[in-house]
Symmetry: C2
Subunit: 150 residues, 2 copies
DNA sequence: AACCTAAATGATAATTATTTTCATTTAGAT
DNA sequence: ATCTAAATGAAAATAATTATCATTTAGGTT
């Protein structure tokens, strides 16, 4: 008997990948959170509904989704990676991050983001030419200490 | 018999730390390179002159130097950290990085850096207020593909 | 110059994040 | 219902980093 596939499943098929319960669930989890989840965290959420799905599959799926451009891999320098739906596939607007180096809290901000993007694009195009570098994305973060940790 | 300490050794003493061969050597290595070395890479350079010094000591020393603000820890999302002398202790000017996601090459650029810093400071102060966040540093990188990998 | 003690070190084991391997299962085309 | 490449789970392997602990050493004191 064929499993029913949801919205994400159809998109996966569109990319030439199979629609599987794990993949759909991981995408739903990423879609329904505002956090920046680590593979381990995603795995523990996955386990609630599908305890048979292993951590390896989580890693593999995230990897695939990053390659498709559906998910962004973020590295805040904690020694582990974090993931979020990429701008194009998310309801969240383009944002950057404030990282608390005490408690690890991550705040998304979208303030001044248009100025910021515009500025970055300008620099990006100049740098790209000067260093003959094909720039595909940028990453900005501000490190510091949050409200609760000060 | 007392060991002679160099310039870095005296600085370490000034910070209340002992001057040891490993510490001085690590600082000299960082000072004399334009690369962004990983602990393993530093270790292998250290080994040439002092094969008895272990990787653990390299990690410990880097950690200490980062806490002192003498060295900056950088994370380009490779699953390992890299280190460089921090702006204040280096002859290099403030810069940011272009990272080639194919071969891993990292290019420092200082172009437009004043505009960039000015812009970031402006944002930084606004964000700090709005989110009640004490921002201590920023990190920018541009990801893409270098000259050789295109 | 020998002495002392906290700080630093090296060797090793332990941890944590991630990747690989491989035998088994399953999605989805036929 | 059948078939096969793709996907998976369990387990082992790898890589980066950190912790443990017995030994050594820097550098102040005598």
């Amino acid at each position: 008997m064929k499993r029913e596939c949801g919205r994400w499943g159809y998109r996966l098929r569109g990319f030439g990948y199979k629609c599987t319960p794990g993949r759909e669930l991981i995408l739903e989890i990423l879609e329904s959170t505002d956090e920046h989840l680590s593979p381990e965290e995603i795995y523990s959420k996955v386990s609630i509904e599908h305890p048979e799905i292993g951590l390896t599959t989580v890693y593999r799926t995230l990897d695939m989704l990053v390659n498709l451009g559906v998910v962004s891999k973020l590295d805040f320098g904690e020694g582990k990676s974090r993931y979020e739906l990429s701008e194009h596939h998310s309801h969240k607007k383009h944002h950057h991050h404030l990282v608390c180096n005490k408690c690890g809290k991550i705040i998304d901000y979208s303030d001044f983001i248009n100025e910021e993007i515009e500025f970055l694009n300008k620099i990006e195009s100049k740098l790209g030419k000067k260093y003959n570098f094909k720039i595909s994305s940028h990453f900005i973060k501000f490190d510091g200490m949050c409200n609760d940790c000060i």
